[in-house]
């Protein structure tokens, strides 16, 4: 059961000095699932992702990602995941093609395999007409598309998206989510963080983090039912207000 899970954590904990960033986190993400990680700023989303990518060693607890232990097999893990953040991580002074080629090569593709993969990425993601354009001159939506292409150049079984649609226009956001679902249908597991609740509702399952703890997990419907609210957005706002209330209290 746990072997087939894309992400499996038990009692995961990360402490920075006196701050407990993530505590007692039990997360199960199935293969091919679009899993939304929600929570206000500072709730531990980024720390969680960094631990799951093998960038940060957990203080304690267990985390197995695509069948690899994040502590012992961090190196191997990195070539089996894709990562994209709201900053996109593109080189403005490289062309679309050069950005793609760079990341593809870094992910270990070369020769004919790389050439074929780059061509199909350019075609499938509609980037072909902009192949030789400098990434810095692309609009936000196109940058986002290119960033996703770079992050998936090596066809990773698991994709981390850290607020991938922040600052992108609604039409691009919609197209982006269509791409995400296409990837999921093809078998890629996607873990996404977002502040947009319409996006949260498009996830297969959600997890709410607050102050480093998991406070709810389930499908969007399960979550709205659990909290007795009409929408995920209401649940989120409610939780955040509670959170801030506690902050004022202490």
């Amino acid at each position: 059961m746990t072997v087939t899970a894309a992400i499996h954590t038990r009692a995961l904990r990360k402490v920075f000095g006196a701050l407990v960033a993530v505590d007692a986190l039990d997360l199960d993400v199935a293969r091919g699932e679009v899993f939304g990680l929600l929570g206000p700023n500072g709730s531990g989303k980024t720390t969680t992702i960094r631990m799951l990518c093998g960038l940060l060693a957990p203080t304690s607890g267990e985390a197995v990602v695509v069948g690899l232990d994040v502590r012992r097999e961090a190196e191997a893990l990195r070539s089996r995941i894709g990562y994209m953040s709201q900053r996109f991580g593109l080189y403005d002074d490289l062309t679309v093609y050069e950005n793609l080629r760079f990341y593809a090569t870094v992910y270990g593709l070369h020769g004919e395999e790389r050439r074929a993969r780059l061509e199909s990425l350019l075609q499938d993601r509609g980037l072909a007409p902009r192949r030789d354009q400098l990434a810095g001159t692309l609009s936000g939506g196109w940058k986002q598309r290119l960033a996703l292409a770079c992050a998936t150049a090596h066809e990773p079984p698991l994709l981390f998206l850290d607020e991938p649609t922040a600052g992108v226009d609604p039409a691009s956001r919609r197209r982006f989510w269509e791409l995400i679902h296409d990837l999921a249908h093809a078998g890629t597991t996607v873990l996404v963080t977002t502040h947009y609740m319409d996006e949260a509702e498009r996830c297969d399952r959600l997890a709410f983090l607050s102050r480093g703890r998991l406070i709810a997990q389930g499908t969007p419907t399960e979550i709205t039912t659990q909290f007795g609210k009409p929408s995920v957005e209401d649940v989120f706002i409610d939780l955040q207000l509670q959170d801030e209330g506690r902050e004022v209290g202490t």
Partner: protein, 376 residues
């Protein structure tokens, strides 16, 4: 085979080729890396030249003869001296130099003309205020040459059995005078430091600012490849710069290149590595490119002042000398001047090379640690 696999696995080549594409595309920076050293060299070189030319000089001419006047005019014609005053005695002469209104003096004794006429060696003296070795060295060289030139002229006119003129040049205040080709070889060291430290640090900070570093660390690229891929292109930049400075130094300032250039280029690598490591250290601290630039600049002043680039280290207070020992440039200056001016071979320069290599290893180790820490 194993090694090449390891290199491939560490993803060094894609990083390196990416850096070169970016470097090629950033025409402004690329241009600056070549033009700035050239401009700096000319500024420093010519500023120093104009300073050493036209040193204000006083004349104490006790001979007051046609021969003495001819000598004075030969000295003037070198362009290194401007006669500002004729003084009556030794006391006045010392007073002018001490006060700084004159930086040189010509002393011609009363028997000067008489000695020439009798076919004996006539003596005269040029005193140069050598407190500033830069300012004085060219003047001293010019005075000696003028003396030889005048002597040659006089030989033709008189009997060739004796040397007709003995013009003694006496540096005051700093008898252990440095060579005239002192500054340009030093510029190689200064310019490498002035460009490598800020450029290396900014290259890393730029990746962090743009979020590409965040992206890179989640890829299989190893920390070492990431760093080497960023730094290796600058080694090439360093050698281009060095070549520009040496070429211009040769063409414009006619610096002597007495030692082995192959040796110089080889040992320079240790200095380049030390500076790139410094740049990397700066990048670990700096959050923005502006900060990186400022921090980089912060290194420059102590380097110029304490390394012996401008002022002789022997003349410094002991504490300043100690601090100078912590600066890689101090050793590199010894090295580059030794090779270029004294034709020093590896037998003479190895201690400096060793210290620089140590600097490189220690700084690189610390910088790598810092760098790894900051990206986590």
């Amino acid at each position: 085979m194993r090694l090449s696999n390891a290199i491939r696995a560490s993803r060094f080549w894609p990083m390196l080729s990416k850096e070169f594409i970016q470097m090629r595309r950033d025409r402004l920076t690329l241009g600056m890396m070549v033009v700035i050293p050239a401009v700096q060299l000319m500024l420093f070189g010519y500023a120093i030249r104009t300073e050493v030319r036209h040193l204000p000089a006083v004349v104490l001419d006790r001979s007051n003869s046609s021969e003495s006047r001819a000598l004075v005019s030969t000295l003037r014609n070198t362009g290194n001296f401007d006669v500002v005053e004729y003084v009556a005695d030794r006391h006045a002469l010392e007073d002018r130099i001490r006060r700084g209104s004159a930086r040189a003096a010509f002393v011609i004794p009363p028997e000067f003309m008489r000695d020439i006429k009798r076919g004996r060696t006539a003596q005269a003296q040029v005193i140069v205020d050598a407190a500033d070795p830069l300012a004085s060295s060219a003047a001293i060289a010019a005075a000696s040459q003028a003396g030889q030139y005048r002597a040659l002229q006089m030989v033709r006119a008189s009997s060739p059995r004796v040397i007709p003129l003995d013009l003694r040049v006496r540096p005051w205040y700093n008898p252990s005078l440095r060579s005239s080709a002192y500054i340009v070889p030093g510029m190689v060291g200064i310019l490498l430091m002035m460009t490598l430290v800020p450029i290396a640090s900014m290259a890393v900070v730029r990746e962090r600012e743009r979020g590409t570093l965040e992206q890179l660390v989640v890829t299989p690229i190893s920390r070492t490849s990431l760093m080497l891929g960023k730094l290796v292109p600058f080694v090439l930049v360093a050698y281009v710069q060095m070549t520009v400075v040496l070429l211009l130094g040769k063409l414009l300032f006619d610096i002597p290149i007495r030692g082995s250039l192959v040796l110089l280029y080889a040992v320079t690598l240790t200095y380049v590595i030390a500076n790139l490591a410094l740049g990397l250290l700066v990048s670990a601290r700096a959050r923005t490119q502006v900060q990186a630039m400022q921090l980089g600049m912060f290194f420059i002043l102590p380097n110029i002042l304490l390394s012996g680039f401008m002022f002789p280290r022997d003349a410094m207070p002991v504490v300043a000398q100690w601090i100078g020992l912590l600066i890689p440039l101090t050793y590199y200056l010894e090295l580059v001047r030794g090779i270029l001016l004294k034709a020093n071979g590896i037998a003479y320069v190895w201690p400096d090379v060793l210290v620089l290599a140590l600097f490189g290893v220690v700084l690189m180790t610390v910088a790598t640690r810092q760098f790894s820490k900051t990206i986590e």
